[in-house]
């Protein structure tokens, strides 16, 4: 116990004497969490549309007007020349071409049926999908309006329409930031914890001070605890700044669920993630190696965590990897507790799994840390 106190005192002294480290601890949550969610906004606006109108009728103009006024589209061109429109698509000035065929109005009225042709620039798949989706919706609305018009004019020719009514639960305004901020905060805590912890130990290897420690009778687990505890407190601190300062003041996000539950999970999670950092440090001799190794894991941890892309949409093997990724569970818990107000019963499985990760990584790290080579 006494030994641990000496180790902790030394570690905290070094941390408080390191201005770069202190600045990072403050700047990372404040700056990154303020900037990143804005960039990670998947809401798509300003989709550029070129319309080739062969019909030039009242209906076709109505449709164009409707598309324009939806707020999602910018009309870059309106003409009767498909070549010109395709030019826009090629030069990336347009994302979608809509072709309104000749006789659009006539066929609609007479045959009750007409086709529109959409040509979408699918280089950015998400934008193409979302843009196409918005357009279909606008066109559907247009359809209904025409029908309503007919029903009004010819009351005997009724057509049944099943209308959909949607309520957006847990995030009624579909505010993308409510979804991203808790996730990004989880990533920041992970990076700070794992990187700083790994680099700190490897630095002692590089400078040679670890040899002076290894030649003392200090127990391995005490030395590792002496490293784990300070970085655990840093992790909690960074998380608190992110949650109370940035998420609340900048984005107005106030967790619906119990904040203490969030902290309980964070505590366990940090132990697991610091275990990863410790493990990286035991396999690296230089800070450069540790950085590369940590970077390798971070890339996988971030992209395979469901932060940006829904896990449900991944192929089976990728889903399997996400299940081995501790970050996945923390992001899930963050979103569940912050947005849905989930309670302990809902995330007890997450607790159990994280406990497993914590034990696994830390035991491995202690086992692989050699005082004697």
């Amino acid at each position: 116990m006494n030994t641990l106190l000496f180790l902790l005192q030394k570690e905290y002294r070094q941390i408080f004497r390191n201005p770069t480290l202190l600045r990072m601890i403050l700047a990372i949550p404040v700056i990154q969490l303020t900037i990143l969610p804005l960039a990670a906004d998947f809401e798509i606006k300003n989709i550029n549309v070129a319309i080739v109108d062969y019909d030039r009728s009242t209906y076709s103009r109505d449709l164009v007007h409707k598309i324009e006024s939806s707020g999602y589209f910018v009309l870059v061109d309106y003409n009767g020349d498909p070549k010109a429109s395709f030019g826009y698509l090629e030069s990336d000035e347009a994302d979608v071409i809509i072709e309104i065929p000749e006789g659009f109005e006539r066929n609609l009225v007479r045959e009750n049926h007409e086709e529109l042709f959409l040509s979408i620039n699918a280089i950015n798949g998400t934008k193409a999908n979302v843009g196409g989706g918005y357009l279909s919706q606008v066109i559907q609305d247009f359809n209904q309006e025409i029908r309503a018009d007919w029903v009004f004019r010819k009351p005997n020719k009724r057509s049944a329409i099943a209308e959909m009514v949607t309520i957006n639960r847990f995030n009624p305004l579909l505010n993308y930031q409510f979804f991203m901020v808790p996730g990004i905060l989880a990533i920041l805590v992970t990076m700070i914890g794992a990187y700083m912890c790994a680099l700190n130990i490897v630095k002692e290897k590089e400078v040679g001070t670890i040899e002076q420690i290894n030649v003392t009778p200090v127990k391995k687990h005490l030395f590792i605890l002496g490293k784990l505890i300070p970085f655990w407190t840093i992790g909690v601190f960074v998380f608190s700044i992110g949650l109370f300062l940035v998420a609340r003041l900048v984005y107005g996000i106030i967790p619906v669920g119990n904040v203490l539950l969030l902290y309980a999970y964070l505590s366990l999670y940090l132990i697991a993630v610091l275990g990863v950092g410790l493990l990286v440090s035991t396999y690296s001799q230089t800070q450069q190696q540790a950085m590369s190794l940590a970077f390798f894991f971070m890339m996988i941890f971030i992209l395979m965590s469901g932060l940006f892309t829904p896990i449900e949409g991944m192929p089976a093997w990728a889903k399997f990897i996400t299940q081995l990724n501790p970050v996945t569970y923390f992001i899930e818990v963050m979103r569940m507790v912050v947005m849905k107000g989930s309670s302990f019963e809902h995330i007890s499985r997450h607790f159990a799994i994280m406990l497993g990760f914590a034990i696994f990584f830390n035991s491995w790290a202690v086992w692989n840390y050699r005082k004697t080579s």
């Binding site: 006494n2 030994t3 106190l5 000496f6 180790l7 005192q9 030394k10 002294r13 070094q14 004497r17 390191n18 400078v207 040679g208 001070t209 040899e211 002076q212 420690i213 290894n214 030649v215 003392t216 009778p217 200090v218 005082k371 004697t372 080579s373």
Partner: protein, 248 residues
């Protein structure tokens, strides 16, 4: 000086792949002795010392340090020795005082004893006024003296010094040897490697390592006689001339 043995090795060997860094080295160090461990760069001195300190497990052979086995009782050995590595390895971002306190603490020196003993030690070293300075700001000679003090602060049975005076000016070197004698007078066994042949003369007994082997082991006077040499320098040249390994 009693007849008790502090360190005893029997055909102690360390291999790194095909390279035999220390080859069947056998010697005894008596309690309270100042034992000089000499050899050219790359002769295997540091490797041998690291095995004795419990930092490196031998490939074969036997050795006991302070009565403990170097294979199975490395942590017991560590309780009874002090170690000063070739490369300065105290914390540069801690002060003189904090370094002493930290290492005393993790060696288990009782809390109440640390402050008075540290004060006395620093006065002795003439470092008392610099006690609140960061170690990074000290000149090398002072750093080395501080390292030595940290290595013996917990009053170990044996202290291992790996080239403690490398790169240090002659006056400081002289002072450093005063510290070594003082520790020896308190009954601490000193195991020291050095390149300086004048320092070899200060040792009670010395061993000469060449290419991983111990080529000679005796008192400085006896060695000079055996090789018909005027000084230790000549003895060293005589022995090291045939070395295959070139130093760095």
């Amino acid at each position: 000086m009693t007849g008790e043995v502090a360190i005893s090795t029997d055909k102690l060997t360390k291999r790194f792949g095909d390279f035999v860094a220390a080859n069947e080295i056998t010697f005894d160090v008596k309690k309270g002795e100042i034992f000089g461990f000499l050899g050219a760069n790359g002769a295997g001195k540091t490797t041998a010392m690291r095995m004795l300190c419990g930092l490196s497990i031998p490939s074969s052979g036997q050795a006991t340090v302070a009565g403990f086995d170097v294979y199975r009782q490395t942590e017991e050995i560590k309780k009874n020795i002090g170690y000063m590595s070739q490369k300065f390895s105290l914390y540069e971002d801690l002060t003189v005082w904090e370094n002493i306190r930290f290492f005393a603490g993790i060696y288990g020196v009782p809390r109440s004893e640390i402050a008075p003993r540290a004060k006395e030690k620093l006065r002795q070293l003439g470092l008392y006024h610099q006690r609140n300075q960061l170690v990074a700001s000290l000149p090398l000679g002072w750093k080395q003296k501080l390292s030595f003090s940290v290595a013996v602060f917990h009053q170990p049975e044996i202290v291992f010094l790996d080239e403690p005076t490398g790169g240090v000016d002659p006056v400081t070197r002289r002072q450093f040897w005063d510290l070594i004698y003082e520790a020896s007078d308190q009954g601490i066994t000193i195991f020291v490697t050095t390149h300086y042949m004048d320092e070899a003369e200060y040792c009670h007994r010395i061993s000469m390592m060449v290419d991983g082997y111990i080529k000679a082991l005796d008192t400085p006077t006896a060695l000079k006689q055996n090789y018909g040499a005027e000084s230790m320098d000549e003895v060293f040249f005589e022995l090291a001339r045939g070395a295959q390994r070139k130093g760095d």
